[in-house]
Symmetry: C2
Subunit: 248 residues, 2 copies
């Protein structure tokens, strides 16, 4: 029986990949992924057979991996971070179900291997901002209407959740973070601590701290995660801490 591993490779540096992900990489006959992640993996697993496809070819990548498994081999599909968080795991299952309806890939098993997602790496670098209830929201409106994103930002702000924002900026939409900040500022103090981490756990890593009132003027890109504290979060000695509530 063929198998597809959907592997979260973590932030980038192999030290943050989990053991199960390494085992799955070793076991795979062919590894499919987005060009820039494949470039990274080639360094650490040089003897493997890779097939890289450019961005926006996610469906094709899933089909190729499933065809490999349908032929009785072991395929791996890699995502950065956690394959199960905005990653390739869901799409792989959706394409699998579609292909099975067409009579293909009937004898294929799937294993999702989790990985460290950008919010976790960012949190570890910032201090300890995720000690209490939190939300993860993507600001990309490629697949989600912007009104839905704004609604979620507003409700999360009202609920005093810690917020982790993904896909905070790109060349095509430079003002999304500014618009998100305006929504958050309607419900939260301007002095709320904010952490910004670019390239968390990979070359070019940058860690910065600011506050919500300054967020509209912060520049970020698709490699940046923004973490917004709750009403108890504080910054001290360059670290962003959300108290869990223990008495010292």
């Amino acid at each position: 029986m063929g198998k597809v591993y959907v592997i979260g490779i973590g932030p980038g540096e192999p030290a943050y990949m989990c053991g199960r992900a390494k085992e799955a990489m070793e076991e795979a006959d062919v590894i499919f992924g987005y060009t820039s992640y494949i470039r990274l993996l080639r360094e650490y697993f040089p003897d493997k057979h890779y097939v890289d496809t450019p961005m926006r070819q996610e469906v094709k990548r899933c089909r190729l991996a499933l065809e490999e498994a349908a032929a009785g081999r072991c395929a791996a599909l890699v995502s950065s971070g956690d394959a199960g968080i905005y990653g390739m795991a869901g799409l792989l299952y959706e394409v699998l179900f579609e292909r099975q309806q067409e009579g293909c890939c009937l004898d294929v098993t799937v294993e999702v291997v989790p990985g460290i997602t950008a919010a976790q790496m960012a949190a570890a670098l910032l201090g300890a901002p995720l000690m209490h209830d939190f939300c993860v929201i993507s600001l990309s409106d490629l697949l989600t209407p912007w009104e839905q994103i704004e609604k979620r930002l507003s409700l999360a702000a009202q609920g005093d959740f810690v917020l982790c924002l993904y896909n905070t900026g790109s060349r095509g939409r430079p003002d999304y973070l500014k618009r998100a900040a305006a929504v958050l500022l309607a419900a939260r103090e301007g002095s709320t601590p904010v952490g910004i981490v670019r390239n968390a756990g990979r070359p070019g890593q940058e860690v910065g701290l600011t506050q919500l009132s300054a967020l509209p003027d912060v520049w970020t890109d698709m490699q940046s995660v923004v973490v917004i504290g709750n009403s108890a979060t504080f910054i001290r000695d360059g670290k962003m801490i959300t108290p869990r509530g223990y008495r010292l």
Copy 2:
């Protein structure tokens, strides 16, 4: 200079621990943790020096680790899952700041090492429920007023977030999940898919699927994670999938 690693050891099986966590375990002179995690780690790192403390001695554990580091040694403080998500990272920093005010631990550095948290392991086992914006909420009211928890549940349900519930049950409070379900049912369809994972990634692992209307009658304990889908989440072939929104 002394150092404290705050290490997320992941769900339990060492295959899901990341490489950096293993390196930090090896480097540490003394490893501090809750008794049951220390028992687990002794199996995989038998030659280390461990100090285990029972539950509710979290502050003491942090002080001991910091004193070790203040003496110029390398201490490790272990949490299950991710030390940065409801883990020991925040408390360690808080105790450090307090001790530094008293003149202790001035020459100590801290590194938080992230790990796979229960929601990620549960998601990987369930299928792919976290493909879209999600919230993580703890139902424990030991450190948070129950009204605050109910408010967050209600806002997250209104926002059509996927929800991951931690600390869903214990002997002392058997009805918390029932009360949470009632709040969620006020805003979401009874047919909303729900996944329940007990002992994710450790011995005794159990994976189950149900729907929101049945959640009030589900029994869980402190080792259970409950994942509630958004309005697009579906169950097929025993897997719980939240579509990301790609066109197939």
